[in-house]
Symmetry: C2
Subunit: 222 residues, 2 copies
């Protein structure tokens, strides 16, 4: 390469730098607007979510006689809609959005939040499932399990959710090294991420369908 | 710019061309694989869709006593699940996918197919809605309309779908010039397209939820 072409290359770099500076300013503005839009949308949908949970809670307390455990199967059932929607819709949604909501926090902290929110959702879902199976099995006469569209959508949802949690947790030494903490296998994490997010959003959609078919069932049956 | 830097620019262009050739071959291979994957997935989901329609049809004929119009409101209802799922799920899905399914056809032809499939879905939906309202109003005693979760999800779906069709059709001279045929306002079409696709997919998801809550209602009520 001749020195002439080098100097012209330097000119190009200078031009690029001034263009780059302008485009940086424009990008920062665009980023700022996108963040502000996200915050408005996030606040709005989270308020809707809390509103839905409050309405479910007041429905169960005021119109469905509140809560109990397996000494009263009819009231034990009431834990089911409350815990499933709190876990597999509200906490699940918050957990999915955490990387965007807390975009200025460290990646490691966000991953821990994501894991804690998902683990809480999982625990609520397990108690919620126990509640519905108990409420069928301890009823007199006992009610059959898993014969409706809702129950199968719900079962598939829980199996897929458990699968995602299992992949994240087992074996723990690999998870801690490779997924939860920034470890060696960047390529592995890069390959798994899109599968994890697509499966996660599909599972969330299934949870939404399960909730709406479930509420439809309950409003007709009572 | 000096002539030396020009010749170095020519060299760059040559290098880019040979790199470009290689990347063209790789891109063509990747495209081919993606197309083949799409075709498999499309065939599989379309077969599932036809299977679902056949199951709905045999359910309505064998277990729900078949079809009639408003001289027999109970059988008139049966048009509702058949026409809504055929129109707002099967044809709607085919119409959304047409640009990918027929990717080698001309854009103009695909737009006409998209319009015809969506128009057919709209006509089936209108007849399906007439069927359900008639089946309530002509029943003795008449049944109330629009008091369930399903009915309101369905209503919102149909309103959003009608909105999309209306935007595409009114005023017709503008549509024909600017949307259906390649016309002058490329920038307008570019601005509308992402809104149209996101709204369309949201409406499709609502149609799916409406169908599943509707089937849940019908299996409990009969």
């Amino acid at each position: 390469m001749s020195s002439d072409s080098l100097s012209s290359a330097e000119e190009d770099v200078e031009n690029e730098q001034s263009v780059g500076l302008l485009s940086n300013v424009m990008e920062a503005r665009a980023e700022h607007l996108k963040t502000r839009n996200y915050r408005s949308l996030y606040s709005f949908t989270t308020a809707l979510g809390i509103g839905a949970l409050v309405m479910i809670l007041s429905w169960l307390i005021r119109y469905r006689k509140g809560f109990a455990w397996n000494w009263d199967p009819e009231l034990q059932f009431n834990w089911h809609p409350l815990l499933m929607t709190t876990g597999l819709l509200f906490l699940y949604a918050q957990s999915i959005l955490i990387y965007r909501t807390g975009r200025n926090a460290s990646k490691k902290r966000l991953k821990i939040f994501h894991a804690v929110l998902h683990a809480s959702a999982f625990v609520l879902a397990v108690i919620g499932l126990k509640a519905v199976f108990d409420s069928h099995n301890y009823a007199s006469p006992p009610k059959p399990n898993l014969y409706s569209l809702h129950s199968w959508f719900g079962l598939v949802t829980v199996i897929m959710f458990t699968g995602q949690v299992t992949v994240a947790l087992l074996p723990p030494e690999i998870t801690l090294k490779y997924f939860l903490y920034p470890g060696l296998s960047r390529s592995l994490r890069q390959a798994v991420l899109p599968v994890h997010t697509v499966t996660g959003i599909a599972t969330f959609t299934l949870a939404l369908i399960a909730a709406l078919t479930g509420i439809t069932e309950k409003t007709i049956w009572t």
